[in-house]
């Protein structure tokens, strides 16, 4: 029938050329170098982690507490935005929910631990309805829906005056132990976030999330429950963000809806850290977050009132000049230099 002719003229023994994966000779040397680099990074990280804990400068402790907080946020965002490829701009909802849960628990006489646990729970639970709603949408529509969901949560916090105090916010007694304690707690939170990320990455959930990022229909056909996997990821991520919110609340002793549910001050930095650092490696998001925190702080000190303007400009320039993030840039350069089959296996 119609298709029979196709086979007749072709060469019967057409052998395939050398498959692209044979060109991997330089991989061993690369692996050794990256191992050395990793060890150096680990040592540097450890030194940086301990330094602010023993240094007498409260400013340094404050700076590092802020850094750990945003590194943890980026790590949490990466679970959803990086692994699963679901670009969320609504993570402020979980952060804020955690902050408010903790603040309300603490002002109502609950202990530090109970309040913190409640904050994590608030973030994780809030993630379920938000995800259930937003994960029906893909691409641009998903981004917009997360934005809107966070905005709805903010308006709730603003208008439920009886519970949250509305725009006035909540004032808390300062954290005993000061910035140094905040720094230690931040480090612990970052450790928890990184551990979670590493576990997810190595387990079934991580494989499924990455499959969903690449091709949702193909993944579903291969037995990946898309909605359930994404909800797990968002809930874990939301829980971590809730804990981060509690830490923020303890560190600053004051929260209001405008600050903890902010798009520009919470959702974007969380995403930006992971985007700049890249989702490929565990160290990507914290590295990116470090850059974001340092640059933001430097601009605040150097530029004063103009720092918001500079922040926006920097955002624009980054997107224009390094569209795939610094990590993507590194990977592209490595690929170009080594002529390898690609950096697909991080």
């Amino acid at each position: 029938m119609g298709e029979r002719e196709r086979g007749v003229g072709a060469h019967p023994a057409a052998r395939r050329g050398p498959p692209p994966w044979t060109a991997m000779t330089g991989r061993r040397a690369g692996a050794l170098a990256s191992k050395a680099l990793g060890a150096a990074g680990l040592a540097l990280g450890a030194a940086l982690a301990v330094l602010p804990l023993v240094s007498p400068s409260p400013y340094l402790s404050h700076l590092f507490a802020t850094f750990w907080l945003w590194a943890a946020m980026s790590q949490a965002w990466n679970l959803v935005g990086g692994y699963a490829g679901q670009f969320s701009l609504g993570h402020a909802a979980f952060f804020g929910a955690g902050a408010y849960a903790a603040a309300l628990a603490w002002t109502n006489g609950l202990g530090a631990a109970a309040g913190t646990a409640l904050a994590g729970l608030a973030g994780a639970v809030l993630a379920l309805p938000v995800g259930w709603l937003c994960f029906r949408l893909r691409g641009a529509y998903f981004v917009l829906s997360t934005l809107a969901a966070a905005e709805v949560v903010r308006l709730c916090a603003l208008n439920l005056r009886g519970i949250t105090g509305g725009a006035v916010g909540i004032l808390l007694p300062p954290l005993s132990g000061g910035q140094r304690a905040a720094c230690a707690l931040g480090l612990a939170l970052f450790g928890l976030a990184t551990l979670t990320s590493a576990l997810v990455r190595g387990a079934r959930l991580g494989y499924r999330l990455r499959a969903l990022r690449e091709d949702e229909d193909a993944a579903e056909a291969a037995g990946v429950p898309a909605l359930k996997s994404k909800l797990w990821a968002l809930s874990l991520s939301g829980g971590l963000c809730g804990l981060a919110g509690a830490l923020f609340c303890a560190q600053t002793s004051y929260i209001d809806p405008g600050s903890v549910f902010s798009l520009a001050d919470v959702s974007i930095p969380a995403a930006l850290g992971a985007l700049l650092g890249g989702w490929g490696a565990l160290w990507g998001p914290p590295a990116g977050a470090g850059g974001v925190v340092l640059v933001a702080e430097a601009m605040r000190v150097l530029l004063g009132r103009a720092h918001g303007l500079a922040y926006g400009l920097l955002l624009v320039l980054t997107v224009l000049l390094v569209p795939q993030g610094f990590c993507g840039l590194l990977a592209a350069r490595r690929r170009a230099a080594g002529g390898e089959a690609g950096a697909g296996r991080p």
Partner: protein, 294 residues
């Protein structure tokens, strides 16, 4: 009497809502054009409206120009500013992933709002014209004259854009590009120029809408985000990228907000729009009107 009073309150709220909704429609039309033609998510549309508001306020304060006139005066400079913006930052990312577009336009929004903060400080500004407090009485109904004027002008602008889209060659190429970019390109349409025109037009409409919003909203540097939110609600209600849909969406949002403010509370006004936005996105992603583009 109680019943009559209730009907009166309802009718007044509805009318005021529809009047404001006309201006929302204009804000949404600009965004719908840009999304429909370029598939570009513009999250600084509200900040562009804010620029128009500051221009209108400036013209009024310095030279006493009426905001309605400013809406016209704003058009050419903002059209060219929009084309410049397109050339400078939008074009390199026009075909890129949504997240880049979102971050880019959020960054632009931050630049604009922070620039406004530096120049004008964070004060709330307003424009008081001779007719600001004028009220039109039709029987027992009372309708604010500035609202009526803003609505009428917004209608003129919206109809003008439609006429331009349907009657001119440039408008035709814009509609063709919205239908199918590759086919338009194959038919000899310079789609790059179309994108530039569209972004310019969207920006100009945003500016005009800003001037018309002056009698309705207090002006401050943070208003852009709020307006971007409204524009998106309008565009999504009408089906992303449909201009007719955006017009209907604007009227609907205006009415819903106004009625919500009367019967629920003014504080929840903004939440109503966002909830509608989420529900429409999830339940009827093609919008209330359907799937037509531009």
């Amino acid at each position: 009497m109680g019943k009559l009073q209730a009907t009166l309150v309802f009718t007044e709220a509805l009318i005021n809502g529809v009047l404001v909704g006309g201006v929302y429609a204009l804000v949404g039309t600009g965004m719908a054009l840009v999304f429909g033609v370029m598939r570009f998510i513009n999250l600084c549309h509200g900040e562009l409206v804010m620029v128009g508001m500051y221009l209108g306020w400036g013209l009024f304060t310095v030279a006493g120009v009426d905001p309605c006139l400013s809406a016209l005066i704003c058009l050419p400079p903002l059209f060219w500013a929009g084309r410049g913006l397109y050339r400078l930052v939008v074009r390199p990312l026009e075909r890129s992933r949504e997240q880049s577009q979102v971050l880019l336009t959020l960054g632009l929004g931050l630049v604009l709002s922070n620039a406004a903060l530096l120049i004008f400080s964070g004060d709330y500004l307003a424009v008081y014209t001779a007719y600001s407090d004028l009220v039109l009485k039709a029987g027992p109904l009372r309708v604010s004259v500035p609202y009526l004027l803003a609505f009428a002008l917004a209608c003129v602008f919206t109809l003008g854009v439609w006429a331009w889209l349907f009657l001119t060659a440039a408008g035709r190429s814009i509609r063709a590009t919205a239908q199918h970019r590759e086919a338009a390109l194959a038919a000899g349409i310079d789609t790059g120029r179309v994108s530039s025109l569209t972004f310019g037009l969207g920006t100009a409409l945003a500016g005009a809408a800003g001037c018309l919003l002056l009698p309705v909203y207090y002006l401050h540097p943070g208003i852009g985000g709020l307006l971007t939110g409204k524009a998106f609600v309008v565009v999504v209600l009408g089906g992303m990228g449909s201009c007719v849909g955006a017009a209907l969406g604007g009227l609907l949002l205006g009415a819903a907000e106004s009625l919500g403010a009367v019967y629920l509370s003014a504080a929840w006004k903004d939440a109503i729009g966002l909830l509608a936005f989420l529900l429409v996105l999830v339940l009827r992603p093609s919008g209330l009107v359907g799937r037509s583009r531009v």
